[in-house]
Amino acid sequence: MMSCYLPQRAEILEVIDETPNIKTFVLKPERKFEFKPGQFVELTVAGVGEAPFAIASSPFQEQLEITIMRTFDPSLGRYGQVTSAIHQMKEGQVVGIRGPYGNSYPVEASIGKDVLIVGGGIGLSTLRSFLLTLLQDRKKYGRIVLFYGARTPADLAFRREYESWKQRGAEVHITVDVGTAGWTGNVGVVTTLFDRVKLDFKREIAVVCGPPIMIRFTVEKLLQVGYRPENIYVSLERKMRCGIGKCAHCNIGHYYVCKDGPIFSYQQVKDIPEWW
């Protein structure tokens, strides 16, 4: 007898500090674990609970990586239980994972096209899976441009990897909302990068993930500069409780983010008032 709610065991092989409140957990699932970029897992910290997290690694990597931000809920006056608990965990300990769930980024549709990836904060985690997938087969695609914004330089996730992404053929543009001493890069929200970087895309695809407000303004900007709604993809966040389209927590209109998403073309969701 099986149950669709049973997690499998995954050992933490390594914990990488990305920022003061973001860590990457390198996991080794007990059983074979295949996924597509953009999918997510339901992750269990024993005795604490289960929560959905995007996969940050590409399917071509041997290890599974999940990058998690410890979040504070001001309305409850406390940190998220699962994110806090996993941030305390060390290599050698185990977590549970269920999944992978959800659809994936438009990898096939990107072939022969220029791809713009726009990320905000921890949103870069799932986009990294897509970026690394594209870089794996670099020559299949046109320009690959990453716009990434975080609050301060200290909040930039995956800082250690930007150089290697550039070397592998991505154009990486970083900005912070607020600069700090020693920061010589761009300052301004992520949409300001559109004024700084020349994009002459003809058959372009744009993929966006970040905080709700960032997604909304980025989509507006993309439409303004001429992207078509069907070529803009957003990776959305909702409370995916079961992950398998049953509990009904994550609906946006008639879609379930866990099953029909988390990646939607803007064309799909633009007429649903609550998309964000």
Binding site: C4, L6, H249
Partner: protein
């Protein structure tokens, strides 16, 4: 199945139920705290079964209010599944309850199959009842349904003068049908005729226009929903009694040296329902949550399955502290079919 319908005389009913309760786990409505409540009954208690009242919920037998899905060791190496595996029967479902289960089946029996729900559905024999005297809040005919079971039952009981017509609806109901057969006589054409009369009379009492196009509830503007939600006090009673509501959440409990993963009903109209990381709430206002509940039932579910996730039972009307009457909304939105 040569003989699908038999007649169980009133004076034999108790004996039949006694035998039934000896052979399997038997749930039936009894009066408790002034209400008909579903309880497991042993042979001493079957005389308390009430046939003429309506249960406020049968759904919790298949999707319990709180249920343990599995227990697991702290190192996640051992899992112990909790799955219902007893042979059981439940008496007292109405046609609306059967439709409610059909609505849940589309969710829980779809891939990936929810084994916890599936096992209950497979193990529990459904014994339904005709509604002889529909209740004040019933409106099943508005949605084109009948106040008596047409399908989805294993056994159906139709009260007529002097007893009940027992009808077998599926091979699964056969063990129960055989028990009833021991106490029953042949159902004569006259008896079946009488059943038709009782059914017609019940239907006539539910004098509503038949509505179509209820998915147009999606077109209602925010103002309408604000107005609709004014009397709502966010108690969640409508969701607790609804035969088609199934929103749930998962949680954790510590027990001795192990942990327990539980599932519980989580009403979609509560503020916390859609909250995501860092307390961001995509539906912070009550009217948007109430709108989502109605849209789920009449637009989203309809789009996916071609039918509404509403059985017309009217229990939500009965339960609402703010006296919200879903019939008013539906009459305003729907188009009259005949």
């Amino acid at each position: 199945m040569e003989q699908k319908r038999i007649f169980l005389p009133k004076e034999k009913t108790l004996e039949a139920l006694k035998k039934l309760s000896k052979q399997l786990l038997f749930f039936a409505p009894v009066r408790k705290w002034g209400k008909p409540i579903l309880e497991p009954l042993d042979v001493q208690k079957v005389n308390q079964v009430v046939f003429d009242e309506r249960l406020s919920s049968v759904r919790h037998l298949f999707l319990p209010t709180v249920e343990t899905l599995f227990k697991y060791s702290s190192d996640l190496s051992r899992f112990e599944l909790q799955i219902f595996d007893k042979s059981a029967a439940v008496l007292g479902l109405r046609a609306c309850d059967l439709r409610g289960l059909q609505a849940l089946d589309r969710i829980f029996l779809d891939e990936p199959v929810d084994e916890h729900y599936k096992m209950r559905r497979e193990k529990v024999i459904l014994i339904s009842l005709d509604c002889v005297e529909p209740w004040e809040t019933c409106f099943c005919t508005m949605l084109g349904y009948k106040p008596y079971p047409v399908n989805g039952f294993d056994i159906n009981l139709s009260p007529i003068e002097g007893g009940m017509i027992v009808e077998l609806g599926s091979p699964k109901g056969l063990p129960v049908f055989e028990i009833f057969s021991e106490f029953a006589t042949e159902a004569t054409p006259e008896m079946l005729e009488r059943r038709e009369e009782v059914r017609k009379r019940a239907e006539r009492k539910l004098d509503y226009p038949r509505l179509r196009g209820l998915e147009r509830v999606e077109k209602l503007g925010e103002d309408k929903w604000k107005e609709f939600s004014i009397p709502c006090v966010e108690c969640g009673a409508c969701l607790n009694v609804c035969p088609t509501c199934y929103c749930f959440s998962l949680t954790e409990k510590k027990a001795e040296a192990e942990f327990v993963r539980m599932r519980f009903w989580e009403p979609c109209i509560l503020e916390r329902y859609q909250k995501v990381a860092a307390g961001v709430n995509p539906r912070p206002e009550l009217h948007s949550r109430l709108a989502n509940r109605m849209l789920h039932k009449f637009a989203y579910y309809f789009r996916r399955y071609g039918t509404y996730a509403c059985t017309g039972c009217g229990r939500c009307i009965e339960a609402c502290l703010g006296k919200i009457d879903i019939r008013e909304l539906l009459l305003a939105v729907g188009e009259r079919a005949s």
